[in-house]
Symmetry: C6
Subunit: 269 residues, 6 copies
């Protein structure tokens, strides 16, 4: 299953999976049933691509709120596929490039994939790849058109490809027609209270008598915010510093935790 699969992952920071590992620096913890089900479905698509004769192109979109774990999941799928060609296309490596150069890089990755029998391409943060901002709205039509064509273009005979996209702007991609260009879409959610509680237990930074109160306070947060909260609350909670807490020698002060929660959440969520 999802977690087990993940536990098998060797702490690989080798050349080919380096970019993928950067997407899950905190490792992978159990985020609950909904994350798990998406992972399983996606791994079936991996199998479909592995054995398919008739449909050499399968496409799948992971959408959900910012920080909910989409990129980490896509990277995990890529790593666990054991496909010979797994590549992440991210705006991080293309900062400041012209639209044309970005297109060329994207096309290059697809052309490379067409040369491998089994490939996965991750289009990470598609709204960032197409340089989207809500005001206007503005975006690169050149890159959008390129994606729209690539998401439909059948690989050459005998080459099978899985494309996984991630986005936190599904509404916008919908209106561009990019969503419809994916065969399936899965929603990667924020963590419900029960899921969040499991994460807190796993991290072991609260005293036993505080953990209920803490978990109750963080219903419906993305996994990323939970990590940020813990780190901030650990700061100044204990004489030995945050290190003491991570070392298990101290616990987070629950009042400090609530105080910080106000900074991080009430203002922005």
């Amino acid at each position: 299953d999802f977690l087990n699969a993940l536990h098998e992952i060797p702490p690989a920071f080798g050349a080919s999976t380096d970019d993928l590992e950067r997407c899950r620096l905190n490792g992978i913890v159990d985020c609950g049933d909904r994350h798990k089900r998406i992972y399983e479905r996606a791994m079936l698509l991996v199998e479909q691509v592995r054995v398919s004769k008739g449909s050499p192109l399968v496409t799948c979109l992971l959408e959900g709120p910012s920080g909910s774990g989409k990129s980490a999941m896509a990277a995990t799928i890529g790593i666990n596929s054991d496909f010979p060609y797994v590549k992440i296309i991210s705006a991080e490596t293309m900062i400041g490039l012209s639209e044309g150069s970005k297109c060329a890089q994207i096309v290059k990755v697809f052309e490379d994939a067409y040369r491998s029998q089994l490939s996965i391409i991750i289009l990470d943060d598609i709204e960032r790849l197409i340089e989207y901002v809500a005001i206007g709205p503005r975006f690169s039509n050149l890159i959008s058109q390129t994606l729209l064509v690539l998401l439909k273009r059948v690989p050459p005979k005998g080459k099978n490809l899985l494309v996984i996209g991630t986005t936190s702007e599904v509404g916008f991609l919908e209106s561009l027609g990019i969503c419809d260009a994916f065969a399936v879409t899965y929603h990667v959610p924020k963590l419900r209270q029960a899921d969040a509680r499991k994460v807190l237990e796993h991290l072991n930074v609260f005293a036993d008598h505080d953990i209920d109160a803490a978990a109750e306070a963080i219903d419906d947060l993305p996994i990323k915010k939970i990590y940020m909260l813990i780190e901030m609350a650990a700061q100044g909670s204990h004489a030995g510093g945050a290190e003491a807490i991570y070392a298990g020698e101290g616990k987070i002060n629950i009042n400090r935790f609530f105080d910080i929660l106000g900074d991080v959440v009430s203002l922005r969520v």
Copy 2:
């Protein structure tokens, strides 16, 4: 008739029809009366072009929802025409080109066609050729103008040309005046339940007692989604894998099928 005509097609992957064949990798199955009638009408236009003295240019637009089989039908018409010059103009071969270069390529195909006595040009996915996105909307006016002129320009004396366009954005083409530039327009529909059932029977991947339930569930889907559904449901349905199912040694688990259907359809349709 449509299917018979199709059955006559040799599995030609030769130079000239290679691009056309790529549009119908799954072969061609009977999609019902409505698809058949459009095919027949279009073949009459082929005849009209073949014998016409007075009107050397005939134009026809195939419009309909994404994945309904427009490109496959246009390719089939082109292959079955036996015209000496049949060419598909597709955004796939022009990724990342400037508007000007795309125009030049399009014009080149028409100029080449003017040199052949009988020609068919397929303008595949016109909205993609003109780089359309709904937001804005944005599109290439240079390419639009080129198409508007080419769709009216009479070939030189003695040269007859059939232009077949395909689009899933008929409303937009209408507002550009591109629809009116075509002499006739045919709507290529999704499959009704009866048509879909025939496709399922033909594919032979369900147990006899499941086929009614399966067909009932997929009313009003485009042919492309039906194929995708079957492939996804075959995955993990049977111990022998999807291969066993395609080999006729197993059947798709109907519950798995319904489950997958939810992923593919309820979210997106």
Copy 3:
């Protein structure tokens, strides 16, 4: 009168009138009183230009629905004027050119005309010359401005010029101020039933007992659609093929005609 004038036209395909003749490949048939009156008025403008001392520039716009015969009429006026310089400016010969190059070509034609004592310039499909699409709307302001200036610029002393424009987007030209730049505007209409009937009789492709029914069905169609309809209906109407019908050896099957009419008209008009 109009038709007689037309009958006098030698089947000239010589250098100077070649472009003009391409506008009326089907020849010219009697389209009824309204077409005739416009032709006569326009020929009076030709005379006015021929004899004028005081106003060396006369301008006239033919507007009406697509396919109503505007370009054919403008070409006919040009041919029948017997002026030494008659030139048609059409988007067909400027595909893919930049706005600047198009302007230069247009200006060149006017400069050439200023060197001839009597000239006619046809600005064919002005909306296409200015690269208009309704979405936006978009159009070339550079070319629009060029036309607005040229339509007001008085030729040099002793040189007289008639400019005839055609358009099916009169509303848009109105809003650009291009309509007001023409001294007179004539509306070239679709064919009324009575006029259409005469065309059918002249073409002689229906059996006598069918012609009433056929004519009744095609009220308010542009001449171009009528021709297209006949060609399509002739296809498959008769064992001997369309050729037999054109040769007078067969007639169009009236039911087939109605069937085709549905394709061509009900969907698009």
Copy 4:
């Protein structure tokens, strides 16, 4: 007075006034009191500029409907000023130039004027100079800014300049702030019936018993339309042709006149 002043004008077609004379090819006839008063006021501005010590720049805008005689009046003022430097800036001599080149030409004319003690610059058809179309609206901001600065820039010591602008798009210039940049604005109107009648009498192309009916029909037309009407109606009115009428050997047929009036006016006004 206006007419007398005009009658003094020698039929000068010499180098310096050639461009100005092209604005009044039909000569100048009495268009009524309102035209006359504007002419007189403008000639006072000429005097003001001639003697002014304190305000070396005077600016005046002539606005009114298309064809009402603005350019002809501006040219007449320029010719009658006897200033050493009188120059008309018109879009006609700048067709197809870039905005930058147009600006440079405009600035050049002002720089030249600054070198003459007394100058008049006519900015003819300002909306055309700034490449205005109502759709959008679109116009050249570069040229607009240039005009806005030039209309305020004080000439060097001892050099006096009168700038006369003409426009038929006063509302638009108002919204650009160009109107306010002119010190005074005069409205050049269409001709009232009484004024039009005088013009008809002067032209002497109607029979005495027809002139009342003719004049009555053309209330509120610009002078340009009246000339066009007469020319068109003269065509085909008389056996001897239009020449006979202009030669005084025939008169315009009043019914023909009304008929033509419908073409020219009812459609467009």
Copy 5:
């Protein structure tokens, strides 16, 4: 006080103040209390800049209707400051330059000022510097951003700078955030009747018995319009010409004055 200060001004047309003097060619007359108070406040800012240790940058905006005397006042402040570096930045010297070149020139002036211990920079007609027109609206964002940064950038240690802006489009500058970038804003008004009367008396061009009537008629006009009115009315008022009036040998005809007033005011104000 304001007037006295002005009277002290030597008729300096030397290199450094030449551009400033061009802003007040008519000299400076007393425009009333409101103008005077603004002048005094601004001169206090000059003092503040002269002695300040803590805040090396002071900024002040003069806004008001066109022709109300903003540029003349800014120039007067600059001249009277006796600062070693006083510079006016005006669109007049940058006609037709690209946005980039204009920016470079503006930045250059600030860099020069940073080298002087005490400096004044006049940003004259800011809306013209940023190429503003109301339609759109359009303006240069490059220049706007440059001004926004320069109006906040603290000069180097020991260098003090006063920036005075003028504008008649305060509403627009407000919406760009340029107004808020100024520390203080003063409204330079049109002249009230009492103020206008003083100007008329000072100019001495009306007969004693006419001056009341004249003053009554020109309530709420900018100083510039008053000067224009006088000049126009002087033309043709007297046999000896306008010269006679300025020489005190004649007076303006009050009826002529009212007549001209109608031209200048009722149409445009």
Copy 6:
């Protein structure tokens, strides 16, 4: 605490902190509890970054009205962090650069920071960095995208980075999605009356019997306006000049103070 921390700051004008010190030329006075609390929270983030193993990137936005002290606070945090790499990115040093060059400079600063174990980058006045104006609105999407990516890009292993942004246009950044890209946001407010009073006392420029009235008048002003007010009111308050007041030899005239307050506040706030 905040003030104490500040008092420890040596008057460092050395190379590395020069840019930072320019942000607080007036030194730092106690602005009340709200400013203090933000400073303390931010210094905890500094600690978090110093000790963090897991989350190498922390981001924090200071937003609030213009002149409320955001840049001064960010600079103070940077100086007090004692991190080896502290850099401010400001539009002031990039005036007139192209968007591309600005991007390159911004990216360069991040790349440099990735080489230091502990870094702080201040993105000062983000709306100015992205060239924002409210009209349109207009802004640089290239720079916005660059910031959006950089604010999410994880530094290389072992390098920790704190990014502090400042802005007075939080609403706009919100709509660009830039706010959400920061982990926490703090609102830096205007001064309440009690806080302002403390500042006045500290500056010691009012007579004891005036200070209540003065403080009462300046509720809800940003610290910057308070300083400007004092400087302006000091001018002309006392025979010895403003210097006498700063030297403690005189006090600000309270009536003059109220008068100036009207100029600075009532017009603009």
